[in-house]
C-alpha cells in the first residue's frame, strides 16, 4: 500500500500511509484509538474507498473497489465489529457470498462439506445448523476466522481478533496464526494488547493520527518504546498502586443469595468501601449477568441487595440508580451512550431530574456547567459540551460514560470491560480514575477479560464459572495460572 | 342440487326466499334508506335479506357475490361500486343460475346479464339540481361543481346539471369543476381554495350532500353563507336542516326507499315467473326551504 489517504467529514483519518507485507509474515499494526488502523485495513479489504494512493499485490497495481474484488485478489479481513448474519447458521455464514450451487439451486451438502473441511483444518468443533446468534462470542469469532480462511485468502487482516476471546481461545488463535504463517500467508494483526505482539508479530508498524510513525522488527521494539511511539510521549507504569483498604472500612455493597435463573443461583458478594473486586472468567461464565442483576438491568428472581447496610429493592435500573449503583456496560455504543446526542445530554441523562427547574423546564445552562466541570475533571477531549458523542474516539466516549455516573452520588460502581478497545493512554487514565473513586470510599466491582488487568487492578479477585463465584484470591496471592485454572474448572 | 333457481322458485314462490344484497357503500344515508325500503317490502313477501357492505372495494364486492353463490341464495341485488368491474361477478352468478338485479347503479360491463335495473334517473335529477341553481342565482354568474367524476351516477348528474343550465339560464356558466372525492373534509378545503381564486362565485353544486355540506363549511369560514347558493343532492337530514336554516338553497332529492321497494317488487315478479321491465326508473324531486317548511 502506497500513499494511502482518507478523509471523513471533519477528520483526516489517513494521510500518506505506506505499508508492506511479505508472505509468511505477521505484521502488527498498533496505535491509539482513532489512529486509523481499521480505516487503513478496510481500504485494503474493499470495504471503503481511499481518497488517494495505490495498492500493489505481487508487484502489480490493483484496484480494490468492493469486498468481492479484494476476495478475488486473495485479501480477507476479520472485522473489528461483529460481522455475521445472526439468523443464519455457521455454515450459511461461512459460505455467504460464495454459496455452492447445483443447477442454479443452493447445494447445501456441498456447503456443509466445505464447512466441515475448514473446521477440521482449524481443529474446531462447531454446531453447523444453529443460528450464530445462539453461539458464544468466541465461537462467533471463530466462524468469522473460518469464513475468511475458506475464501483461500493469501493476505489476512485480523482487526482486534482477541478483544472478545478468552485466554484459551487466544492460545488456539495463536496456534492457528503460526500454521497460517507456515503456509506462507501474510497476516496483518491489529491489537491493543501489546503483550501479544511478542508472541506472534515479526514486525510492528505504529500509526498515530493517520500517519506511520515507525516500522521495526518486533525484537527490536520493546513494549515501552512502542507505547511511547504510539502516544508520542513517555507513559507511567501500567497499573497504578492500589490504595490500602482501612481495616474499619464498612461493607458498602452486600449481595445476599441473589438468583436469576438459569445462570445465577444464590450469589453472595460483599464489597467494602474503597475496595476494588475483580471478576475473572471465561466468556459466557456469567460475569456480565451478575453485574446486570445487581444493576437492575435484568430483574433478579430472589435474594437481596444491601447498600450501606440498608436493603435496596432493585427491580429496574431506576431503582439501582436511586440506590447509588452505577453500571458501566461492556458495550458502550449499544448500551452506554446515545450516540446522536451531545456530550451534555449524555452526561445528564441518568440524573436529569436534578436539572429541572420549578417551571418543569430543563435548565440547560446548569447542565452545561456540570458537563464542563466533568470535562475538566476527567480530561474529556471534546471541543465543547455540545459535540455529538458519536464523533468522539473510543476512550473519550468511555470517559463520557463515566462522567454520566459521576455527576450523581454513587456508592457502587460496576465496571464491565472498562477498557475494551481503548488505547493504552486512555486505559491508564481510566485506571487512575478507578483508584481515585475507591479512595473516595466507593465500592467497585470490575469485570475484565484481560487477566493482567484484573490481577493488577483488584484488591480481591473472584474466579467466576457458571454464574457462581467459585474461588476468591487476594491481590497478592493471585497468579494468572491459578485464577485461570479456577475459572476453567476441572475441565481445563 | 344444481337445479336452476327458476324451478326452485316455482316450487315455493310464496316465501322463504333468501336474497343477498351487496351495497357499495352501506354507510351512506342514501343506501340505508334504500335498504329500509327493501326490508319493508321483503317483509311483505316473506323474503329474508342478507345485506353486506362492499365498502367501496371492487374485490370485496366480487368476493361477497361469491359468498352468496356459496350460500346458494335465491337472488342477488347489487349496487355496484364499479359499473365495469361488476360484470364478472354477475357472470359468475349467472353461471350458478342465480338471478341478479341492480339497484341505483347499473352494470356497464359486457359480461353477465341482469334481470332488471332499478334506479333514479340521475340525468333527470341533475337537471332538477340545475333548475334549482338557475332559480337561485338568477340570470347570470359563475358556479362551481364539487365533483366525483369517477362515479357513473355522478357523471349523469353533472350532465343533467349542465344541460339544465344550458337550457334554462345560459348565462350561468360553470367556472370550476373540482374532484373532492365526495368527501366532506376534502370538499371543505377544495372549496376554500376555490373561494380564494373565484371571489365572484355565485353558486356551488355538490354532487352529493357530503360535498355540499363541506362546501357550506368553507362558505361559512369565508363569511359567504346565504350569499352563495349551495345546491346538493340527496337531501340527507343534515342537508335538510341546512336548507331549512337558509344556509343551503336546495337539494335534488331521490327516493331511495322507493328504489328499494321497486327492486324487491321486480324480484317478486321474477319469482312469480313474470318478466319485470329491464329498467325501472324512479323519479327525482327537489327539496327547498318551502318543502322544509311543509314537513316541519
Amino acid at each position: 500500500m502506497r500513499g494511502i489517504a482518507k478523509a471523513f467529514p471533519g477528520v483526516q483519518a489517513l494521510a500518506d500511509v505506506s505499508l508492506s507485507l511479505g508472505g509468511g509474515e505477521v505484521l502488527a499494526l498498533v496505535g491509539e484509538n482513532g489512529a486509523g488502523k481499521s480505516t487503513l485495513m478496510r481500504i485494503l479489504a474493499g470495504g471503503l474507498a481511499a481518497d488517494a494512493g495505490e495498492i500493489l499485490i505481487d508487484g502489480k497495481r490493483v484496484v480494490i473497489d468492493a469486498p468481492r474484488t479484494a476476495e478475488r485478489l486473495g485479501v480477507g479481513m476479520i472485522y473489528q465489529e461483529f460481522n455475521l448474519v445472526p439468523q443464519l447458521t455457521a455454515v450459511e455464514n461461512l459460505v455467504l457470498g460464495d454459496e455452492p450451487t447445483r443447477r442454479g439451486f443452493l447445494d447445501t451438502s456441498a456447503a456443509l462439506e466445505r464447512a466441515r473441511r475448514i473446521f477440521e483444518e482449524l481443529r474446531i468443533a462447531m454446531p453447523p445448523d444453529v443460528p450464530v446468534a445462539r453461539l458464544s462470542v468466541g465461537q462467533q469469532q471463530l466462524v468469522e476466522i473460518a469464513k475468511v480462511l475458506s475464501k483461500r485468502a493469501r493476505i489476512i487482516v485480523m482487526d482486534e481478533p482477541t478483544a472478545a476471546l478468552t485466554e484459551n481461545e487466544i492460545e488456539r488463535l495463536f496456534a492457528l496464526v503460526e500454521r497460517l504463517k507456515a503456509a506462507g500467508k501474510g497476516i496483518v494483526y491489529i491489537s491493543h494488547r501489546l503483550e501479544e505482539l511478542a508472541r506472534i508479530a515479526d514486525r510492528v508498524t505504529i500509526l498515530r493520527d493517520g500517519r506511520v510513525i515507525e516500522t521495526r522488527a518486533e525484537r527490536a521494539f520493546p513494549e515501552d518504546e512502542i507505547v511511547a511511539a504510539m502516544v508520542g510521549r513517555q507513559l507511567d507504569a501500567h497499573y497504578p498502586a492500589l490504595p490500602p483498604i482501612a481495616q474499619s472500612a464498612p461493607v458498602v455493597l452486600d449481595v445476599r443469595s441473589l438468583s436469576r435463573p438459569p445462570q445465577i443461583d444464590g450469589l453472595n458478594l460483599q464489597v467494602r468501601a474503597g475496595e476494588i473486586v475483580g471478576l475473572a472468567g471465561l466468556i459466557g461464565a456469567g460475569r456480565t449477568e451478575i453485574l446486570r442483576a445487581i444493576a437492575g438491568a435484568d430483574v433478579p428472581r430472589g435474594g437481596e441487595i444491601l447498600i450501606d447496610g440498608r436493603v435496596a429493592r432493585i427491580r429496574s435500573p431506576i431503582d439501582a440508580i436511586g440506590a447509588g449503583i452505577a453500571f458501566i456496560t461492556e458495550d458502550r455504543k449499544a448500551q452506554g451512550l446515545v450516540l446522536g446526542m451531545s456530550v451534555r445530554e449524555n452526561v445528564t441523562l441518568a440524573h436529569l431530574a436534578q436539572y429541572v427547574n420549578r417551571d418543569l423546564m430543563i435548565d440547560r445552562a446548569r447542565e452545561a456547567r456540570t458537563t464542563q466541570r466533568m470535562i475538566d475533571e476527567l480530561d474529556i477531549r471534546t471541543p465543547s459540551t455540545e459535540q455529538l458523542v458519536k464523533n468522539l474516539s473510543g476512550g473519550t466516549q468511555q470517559k463520557v460514560v463515566l462522567a454520566k455516573w459521576l455527576i450523581g452520588t454513587v456508592r457502587v460502581l460496576l465496571f464491565d470491560e472498562p477498557t475494551r478497545g481503548i488505547d493504552v493512554a486512555a486505559k491508564a487514565e481510566i485506571y487512575a480514575l478507578m483508584v481515585g473513586l475507591a479512595q473516595r470510599g466507593s465500592a467497585i466491582v470490575m469485570v475484565s477479560s484481560e487477566l493482567p488487568e484484573v490481577l493488577g487492578m483488584a484488591h480481591r479477585i473472584f474466579a467466576v464459572r457458571g454464574g457462581a463465584l467459585v474461588r476468591s484470591f487476594a491481590h497478592d496471592e493471585a497468579t494468572p495460572d491459578a485464577v485461570m485454572l479456577a475459572a476453567a474448572g476441572a475441565a481445563a | 342440487s344444481h337445479s336452476t333457481s327458476q324451478s326452485t322458485t316455482s316450487a315455493s314462490a310464496s316465501g322463504g326466499k333468501r336474497i343477498g344484497v351487496s351495497i357499495q357503500n352501506r354507510e351512506a344515508q342514501f343506501y340505508q334508506d334504500m335498504e329500509a325500503g327493501m326490508r319493508s317490502e321483503a317483509a311483505k313477501y316473506g323474503y329474508s335479506l342478507d345485506v353486506v357492505d362492499a365498502n367501496r372495494d371492487n374485490a370485496l364486492q366480487q368476493s361477497q357475490v361469491e359468498d352468496f353463490i356459496s350460500q346458494r341464495v335465491d337472488a342477488i341485488v347489487l349496487t355496484p361500486y364499479d359499473s365495469q368491474a361488476i360484470g364478472s361477478a354477475i357472470a359468475e352468478a349467472n353461471r350458478a343460475g342465480i338471478p341478479v338485479f341492480t339497484a341505483d347503479i347499473a352494470s356497464t360491463s359486457r359480461l353477465g346479464t341482469v334481470v332488471a335495473h332499478v334506479a333514479s334517473d340521475n340525468v333527470q335529477g341533475g337537471f332538477q339540481a340545475g333548475k334549482l341553481m338557475c332559480a337561485a342565482v338568477g340570470g347570470s354568474g359563475g358556479v362551481a361543481i364539487i365533483d366525483e367524476p369517477e362515479v357513473t351516477s355522478v357523471q349523469d348528474r353533472v350532465r343533467g346539471f349542465r344541460e339544465a343550465l344550458a337550457q334554462i339560464c345560459p348565462h350561468v356558466t360553470v367556472v370550476a369543476d373540482v374532484d373532492a372525492g365526495g368527501q366532506r373534509d376534502r370538499a371543505e378545503s377544495d372549496t376554500s381554495d376555490l373561494l380564494q381564486s373565484n371571489r365572484s362565485l355565485k353558486g356551488i353544486f355538490g354532487i352529493n350532500d357530503d360535498s355540499a355540506l363541506g362546501a357550506l363549511a368553507a362558505a361559512k369560514a369565508a363569511g359567504l353563507v346565504g350569499k352563495i347558493a349551495i345546491v346538493g343532492y340527496d337531501a340527507t337530514p343534515e342537508a335538510r336542516t341546512a336548507i331549512a336554516a337558509g344556509q343551503m338553497y336546495g337539494d335534488a332529492v331521490q327516493y331511495p326507499e322507493q328504489i328499494g321497494r321497486k327492486t324487491i317488487d321486480a324480484i317478486h315478479e321474477y319469482f312469480g315467473g313474470k318478466h319485470p321491465p329491464k329498467v325501472v326508473h324512479v323519479n327525482v324531486g327537489t327539496f327547498t326551504r318551502a318543502n322544509a317548511g311543509a314537513t316541519h
Binding site: 435500573p317 440508580i321 456496560t329 448500551q335 446515545v338 446526542m341 418543569l360 455540545e386 | 370550476a176 336542516t241
Partner: protein
C-alpha cells in the same frame, strides 16, 4: 447513520433556513402565477386553517416517530373521537361552554385510551408498532361505524357551529381583517407551542429523543422507557382527538368518514418532510410545521392554479420524495 451529524442546534437552524428560502421563492412564483390570489390575506388564513388539522395530527406522530415507532391509527381515531364526541354532546343536557368542555374531555379520553391500548403490546410484548397501530386502525374505524351506524351524527346543539365565529374569534377576525375560520389556527398554535416546548425543554421530551437514539442505553440510564413510550402513543391519540373535535365543530357533526382519507399518510409525510428521522432519535415540532406548511401550500397553490386533481397526486408524491432526498443530500455534502 454513518454520515456524522454535526451540532444539532446548528443543523436544525440550517434546515429551517434552507426550508424557508426554498419556501419564499416558491411562494413568490406561485403568487405571480395565481394573479396575487396566493398571498392574499384571506388565502393565507385559509391555508393555515387547512393545514391545522394535518399539523396537529402530525404533532403526535412526530413524538411517535422520534421513538422510532409509527402510528397508523390516527386517521381512524379522528373518526372515532368525532363520532363519540357528537354522541356525547347530543346526550348531554348541558349548553354553552360547559357542553363544549365536557364533550372535548370525553373525546380526549377516548383518544388517550386508544393510544394507551396502542402502546400496550409495543411496550409489554415488544410488538412492532406498525402492526399494533394497524390493528387499532381497523378496530377504531369499525367501532366508529358501529357507534354511528355509518351515518354522520349531526350535533343538536348549535354551540359548536358558532365556535370560531362569535366572541373572541369574531373579534380576532375583525382585528386581522381576514375572513375565515381562525378557530383551528388558534388551536394549532396553542397545541404546537405546548408540544414543542414539551419536546425540547422538558425531561419527558429529552427522554423521548434519547429513547429514539438508543433505547437500551436510555433504559440503563434510568429512563422509564415503558412509561415514556406509552405516553408518546397517548399524545398521538390525544392529538387525533383534538383534530376529531375540530372537524366536528367545523361540520357541526361527527362523521365516521372524516379522517379516513389520506390524513394519516399526509401527517406522516409532514413529519418526515419536516426532517424527523424514521429511524428515531431526531426531530422537531417546528420542522413538522414546515413540513405541513409545504404540503398544504402546495395543495392550495395547485388548486389556485387549477391543476388537474390527478396530476396533483403525482406532484405531491414527487415533492415528498424530493424534499426527503434533498435533506439527505444536504446532510451528506453540506
Amino acid at each position: 447513520m454513518t454520515a456524522g451529524a454535526r451540532q444539532p442546534v446548528k443543523i436544525s437552524w440550517l434546515r429551517i433556513i434552507a426550508a424557508a428560502t426554498v419556501f419564499v421563492a416558491f411562494i413568490a412564483a406561485i403568487d405571480v402565477a395565481a394573479h396575487g390570489a396566493f398571498l392574499s390575506r384571506g388565502n393565507i388564513a385559509s391555508v393555515l386553517s387547512q393545514i391545522s388539522y394535518d399539523f396537529i395530527l402530525a404533532i403526535g406522530e412526530t413524538f411517535v416517530i422520534i421513538t422510532a415507532g409509527i402510528d397508523l391509527s390516527i386517521g381512524s381515531l379522528v373518526s372515532l373521537c368525532g363520532v363519540v364526541m357528537a354522541i356525547v354532546a347530543n346526550s348531554l343536557h348541558l349548553s354553552g361552554f360547559l357542553l363544549i368542555a365536557v364533550t372535548l374531555v370525553s373525546g380526549l379520553a377516548v383518544g388517550a385510551l386508544a393510544g394507551y391500548v396502542n402502546a400496550l403490546p409495543v411496550v409489554k410484548l415488544n410488538l412492532p408498532p406498525f402492526i399494533t397501530t394497524l390493528a387499532m386502525m381497523q378496530i377504531a374505524l369499525g367501532a366508529s361505524y358501529m357507534l354511528s351506524h355509518g351515518r354522520p351524527v349531526a350535533l343538536v346543539s348549535p354551540a359548536f357551529g358558532n365556535l370560531g365565529y362569535g366572541g373572541f374569534f369574531g373579534g380576532l377576525t375583525g382585528l386581522l381583517h381576514v375572513q375565515g375560520n381562525l378557530f383551528p389556527i388558534v388551536w394549532m398554535l396553542v397545541v404546537g407551542l405546548f408540544f414543542s416546548t414539551l419536546l425540547t425543554r422538558t425531561r419527558f421530551g429529552r427522554y423521548v429523543l434519547a429513547i429514539g437514539g438508543n433505547e437500551e442505553a436510555s433504559r440503563l440510564a434510568g429512563v422509564d422507557v415503558a412509561r415514556a413510550k406509552t405516553l408518546v402513543y397517548v399524545i398521538s391519540g390525544v392529538c387525533a382527538a383534538i383534530v376529531g373535535f375540530l372537524y366536528m365543530a367545523l361540520f357541526s357533526s361527527g362523521s365516521p368518514q372524516t379522517g379516513t382519507g389520506n390524513e394519516m399518510l399526509a401527517a406522516i409525510a409532514a413529519v418526515v418532510v419536516g426532517g424527523t428521522s424514521l429511524m428515531g432519535g431526531r426531530g422537531t415540532i417546528v420542522g413538522t410545521f414546515f413540513g405541513a406548511l409545504l404540503i398544504g401550500s402546495l395543495n392550495n397553490a395547485m388548486n389556485l392554479l387549477h391543476v388537474d386533481s390527478y396530476l396533483q397526486m403525482v406532484v405531491l408524491g414527487a415533492v415528498i420524495l424530493l424534499a426527503v432526498a434533498l435533506d439527505e443530500l444536504r446532510k451528506r455534502y453540506l
